[in-house]
């Protein structure tokens, strides 16, 4: 499973760097609507994955190491909106986000290190604020699914 994680991470990082998503300029000019490539990229990613996941979910396929496929869908709650807004402000200012920041750093852009550190601090600070009532990660992130070790 660790190797699988490493491989998928590597593929993800590769695609991010290959599509220039790890560059500040790419994000900034997209949010300025000077170039729409990133929106198109994300749209296509969703366009491909949404129907495929829908079909796989309907067929209730068995995943290789995680049992029957289980998609995660949650009701909208306040923290999704507030968190999203805070994230959006930071995203516009920094022109990067969690995964691209790593690819940014490994491409030689040294301020990516500041971004990675900042992200760690931000994530951890939220956990500290939530101490005692730790929020489960959301639909887009890891959740507790029984994963058989290969």
């Amino acid at each position: 499973m660790n190797l699988i994680g490493g491989l998928f991470g590597a593929a993800f990082g590769f695609v991010l760097a290959a599509s220039q998503l790890h560059e500040y300029d790419t994000i900034h000019k997209t949010l300025r609507f000077e170039e729409l490539d990133v929106f198109l990229l994300m749209g296509l990613a969703i366009g491909v994955s949404l129907p495929l996941l829908w079909i796989l979910d309907r067929k209730q396929i068995r995943t290789v190491y995680g049992g029957r496929i289980q998609l995660s869908r949650s009701k909208v709650e306040r923290h999704h909106i507030v968190g999203g807004a805070l994230f959006g402000v930071g995203w516009a200012l920094a022109g990067t986000c969690p995964a691209p920041a790593l690819a940014m750093l490994s491409s030689g852009a040294l301020y990516g290190a500041i971004a990675v550190v900042g992200l760690f601090i931000g994530l951890h600070t939220h956990d500290l604020h939530m101490a005692g009532g730790l929020r489960q990660e959301g639909d887009g992130e890891h959740r507790e699914v029984a994963t058989a070790e290969p």
Partner: protein, 161 residues
């Protein structure tokens, strides 16, 4: 690689990780687990730590195969706008602290909610994604109206004055 190649590739990766591990291809969760591992906590989801390292390395491979490793700040546009090194460093730092906090609160980021969550048809992800996209566009508009970032234009594929 053009968007019409990388977009579908990313979509296939999302589906792939579900098919193999029944997990979403999110990124902020990888940071969370890596931090837990660094703090030597008990319940670390170890494969996400490998995944975290993988993103770094995968990006490195693409860089080496493509434009080549290039030591720079990564924020030339901000310098072109006339911002000093300390200012840029502080802006990037505070912005990413805010992003980390917001991502944890929302339960995901651009990959987690933006791609995986929306692909799973989660209302929470649609809401989070719409919120951060609209917010980012508005903040960018303010930045370009109010600061010298607005003086930058695209020249030879680079944002510069």
């Amino acid at each position: 690689m053009p968007w019409f190649v990388t977009g579908p590739l990313l979509g296939l990766l999302v589906v792939g990780l579900f098919v193999v591990a029944n997990q979403p291809l999110g990124a902020s969760g990888a940071y969370v687990q890596t931090l837990k591992a660094a703090r030597d906590e008990h319940d670390v989801v170890v494969w996400r730590v490998w995944y975290f390292g993988g993103i770094f390395l995968g990006g490195l491979v693409a860089t080496v195969l493509g434009p080549g490793f290039d030591v720079r700040t990564g924020y030339d546009a901000m310098f072109a706008a006339g911002w000093s090194k300390p200012v840029v460093a502080i802006v990037v730092f505070l912005a990413t602290v805010l992003m980390g906090y917001g991502a944890r609160m929302a339960g995901g980021c651009t990959s987690g909610h933006g791609i995986c969550g929306t692909a799973q048809r989660s209302p929470a992800s649609w809401a989070a994604t719409a919120t951060f996209v609209v917010t980012a566009i508005v903040v960018t508009f303010i930045l370009t109206s109010v600061t010298s970032l607005g003086d930058l234009t695209m020249q030879n594929g680079v944002l510069t004055k």
